[in-house]
């Protein structure tokens, strides 16, 4: 199976929970953002309870969780926003 690299960013509560701001992932081609979230749940105990991913951003734009990632994508999970 061909692989691809995706750069994952964490912000706000997710950065606190994972203890990091970013992570480089090597994924199988065809992996979706939702599948990345599921693997994070398995990896970080504090995320395990969250069966549904938060909002997803790919390359600095909102995207559907089932979007298939591409090599070189920048992926971020967006917790509920609270600007203003």
């Amino acid at each position: 199976m061909p692989s691809m690299k995706v750069h994952l960013l964490f912000f706000a509560v997710l950065r606190d929970m994972t203890g990091t701001g970013q992570k480089d992932l090597v994924l199988e081609a065809g992996t979706t953002a939702r599948q990345v979230w599921q693997s994070l749940r398995a990896q970080y105990g504090q995320l395990a309870a969250f069966t549904q991913p938060p909002m997803v951003a790919i390359n600095e734009s909102y995207a559907a969780p089932d979007t298939v990632l591409r090599d070189g994508d920048q992926l971020a999970f967006i917790p509920p926003v609270a600007g203003g």
Partner: protein, 138 residues
Amino acid sequence: MTYLTDDPIDAAALVRTVMRPTDGAYVLFEGVVRNHHEGKAVESIFYDAYRPMAEKEIDAIVRHLEALYPAAALTVVHRLGRLIVGDSSIAIVAAAPHRAEAFEACRNMIDLIKEKVPIWKKERGPDGEEWVGWQGQC
């Protein structure tokens, strides 16, 4: 245009960047750090952002509102980092030949920013710290 800043907001200077001789009104909105939230005391707030995406999202909102209110001139600046009670976290200026459009555009802008822009706040008080909006679910 850079919409995010790490420095205190100078609202009067922001107004001057927007006003044209044809404008008969401007509406200035400032969001301010208050000393309480949902019954808890608040001493300071840390604002975090996905900066490049936040800039893009704010720009998209400004463009959307410029199309919706063609007579208005709009700008906004959002401060990030640690703010204390009384500090302004955001300032929006909507100028227009007549007040109705200025009021509407300004109100619309703050509502859209609160809904769409990837900015987060962590409130700090005597009881500890908490990310706002994260009530144990995504």
